[in-house]
């Protein structure tokens, strides 16, 4: 290697090293933030290395500036504006754009062939880059739309018809891919683009909202693959190694998330929406409960006032009601009253794994009060009051005891062990899994019906009127 090539090569190596350290550090709480910075630094280094190797003409610089200005600015604004509750769909949007970038590069090379050569390797790389890039883009956009509630799940996607549709689309992709080397810039290319995009929609549309995080994680892995393929297209080893690393790491993360949600990747991808296929509990509305005790905020407040140890179980409903700040206020009040307060966080609480931790952290809940399932479960028997806020399936005791339940085997929070349980819920509607929750009928359980935020505010004013949290000598 000549001396002139050495510097960019060293920069690339440094970038790969930092990137690897970054991904590794992101999987530990103590190092995660600095690791994120390391990864960003690695990216900047990689760009620097490339610019040294491939000098740009003034006109090229102009177009670089335009792209950088627009993309960077929009990214900056989006990252700052987006609320924490909308994190899953934001990641989906970013991810889709990454896929689109790979797709556009492959299109540019296929249409205009700037490198001058087009061997078989390059053609195959273009096919992969277009195929994966288009699926990543359209799939991510559908995932975002479903999470935002813009897109429903059409009925036909829950029938076996979807398999025939998707198989035909896959065949169309294959036909385009095979015909592509003969005619690089013609019909086969566009067939591939259109069919792959439709396939991305076709495979994502049938998947239910609860499984969407897994899908986004998988699509994230795909966008790494798309980047690696783009690396083959433009002949960049840096891109290949980074894409491969993200692709593989994303696959592992997807697997980890599936395990946490007690779902297999295969059933997520091909099983359709959970509950859609399992005709249990009459489809969700007030599914045959007989022994429900409901109570008012006042009764709940009295129980809280008398408790020594309280555990909150926040769920999706809390996030929807944006009630995390009210919850924090309530727990502060109780703490001032000498009550020991903790939060039990199920691995999949919120809208995606780990999402609830982010939401509660945003509301200033101290990190040490967030207890993970394995830590908190042995504590429930000595807990006076548990308040379940908009969580359902993750506290269903059937998952442990009833082998006929679709939830059977899923790790759950054992709140039924506590002395008293209050479930704050808008109605008796079923959870994601569309099944009955045996917890609601237990003698120690009382339902407090209402929006999580309204109920919490009600509790706050009840407790205040009882004089809780005022300056009482301890």
């Amino acid at each position: 290697m000549a001396g002139l090539d050495l510097l960019p090569a060293l920069i690339d190596l440094g970038a790969v090293l930092l990137l690897a350290l970054g991904i590794k550090g992101l999987s530990k709480v103590s190092t995660a933030r600095s690791a994120n910075g390391l990864a960003a630094l690695a990216m900047a280094l990689a760009v620097l290395g490339l610019l040294i190797q491939q000098p740009l003409s003034p006109q090229a610089w102009l177009w670089v500036a335009i792209g950088t200005g627009l993309g960077g600015l929009l990214g900056l604004i989006t990252a700052q504006r987006v609320p924490m509750t909308a994190m899953p769909e934001t990641v989906a949007l970013f991810n889709g754009c990454g896929g689109m970038a790979s797709l556009l590069v492959a299109l540019g090379v296929a249409l205009f062939n700037p490198g001058g050569s087009s061997g078989l390797v390059e053609q195959i790389s273009i096919v992969i880059s277009v195929f994966v890039g288009a699926i990543t883009f359209s799939g991510s956009i559908v995932a975002m739309g479903k999470l935002q509630g813009w897109i429903d799940t059409p009925g036909w996607t829950q029938s076996t018809m979807r398999h025939s549709v998707n198989i035909s689309l896959a065949v169309a992709c294959l036909a385009g891919a095979i015909a592509l080397p003969g005619d690089m810039a013609g019909a086969p290319l566009w067939l591939l683009v259109v069919a792959s995009s439709l396939l991305g929609i076709g495979v994502t549309l049938p998947i239910g909202g609860a499984d969407m995080p897994v899908v986004i994680s998988l699509l994230n892995s795909y966008s790494g693959v798309a980047a690696a393929a783009a690396g083959f297209v433009v002949g960049s080893q840096m891109l290949i190694v980074a894409g491969a690393m993200v692709g593989a790491a994303g696959l592992i993360l997807t697997q980890v998330m599936c395990t946490a949600m007690n779902r297999s990747l295969v059933s997520v991808l091909f099983g359709g929406a959970l509950g859609g296929s399992a005709p249990v509990g009459g489809g969700g509305e007030e599914a045959g409960y007989t022994r429900i005790t409901s109570c008012s905020a006042e009764e709940c407040a009295i129980a809280l006032e008398a408790a020594e140890r309280v555990v909150f179980v926040p769920g999706y409903g809390l996030a929807v009601a944006q009630a995390q700040h009210a919850l924090r206020e309530l727990s502060k009040l109780l703490e001032n009253h000498g009550v020991e307060v903790t939060y039990a966080i199920h691995p999949v609480a919120g809208r995606m794994p780990g999402h609830m931790n982010v939401l509660l952290a945003e509301a200033d809940v101290p990190y040490e009060q967030l207890l993970e399932m394995d830590t908190v479960n042995p504590e429930f028997p000595r807990t006076d009051v548990v308040i379940v806020l908009g969580a359902n399936d993750v506290v269903n005791p059937d998952a442990k005891t009833d082998s006929t339940s679709p939830l059977y085997g899923m790790p759950v929070l054992e709140v039924d062990q506590a002395r008293q349980v209050f479930v704050v819920k808008r109605s008796l509607g079923a959870g994601y899994a569309g099944i009955k929750n045996a917890l609601f009928e237990l003698p120690q359980t009382a339902m407090v019906f209402g929006d999580a935020k309204a109920v919490l505010n009600g509790l706050l004013s009840e407790l205040r009127s009882m004089g809780v949290g005022k300056k009482v000598a301890a």
């Binding site: 992101l26 999987s27 970038a101 994230n220 894409g243 491969a244």
Partner: protein, 101 residues
């Protein structure tokens, strides 16, 4: 070794590295890790820049490259910032002494 075989080795070793990097992830970090990995996958900026560099000032290629650079950078900048925003919430508070455990 041809450039292609070399690239295949790079692909193989990169994939193996990626598989090893993430082992046990606490559920707390699933969302930020996914978001961070997503930002890294915007490394396609390199491909976009290469396309622009090799465009020989052909306008359609410059436009395509610039568009693709925009999409990729949206992913990169947005991804890293949003990840940082999430992680900042975990590290902001210093552990309080003696408070309830």
């Amino acid at each position: 070794m041809s450039a292609f075989t070399q690239a295949l080795w790079v692909l193989l070793l990169g994939s193996l590295l990626g598989l090893e990097l993430i082992g046990k992830v606490p559920p707390t970090l699933h969302t930020p890790l996914m978001s961070g990995a997503n930002a890294i996958s915007g490394i396609t900026v390199l491909a976009s820049l290469t396309l622009i560099a090799q465009a020989n000032d052909q306008l359609p290629l410059l436009v395509l490259g610039s568009l693709s650079l925009g999409f990729a950078l949206f992913n990169v900048v947005g991804g890293f910032l949003v990840t940082d925003r999430m992680l900042a919430m975990f590290s902001r508070k210093s552990p309080r002494t003696g408070a309830n455990r």
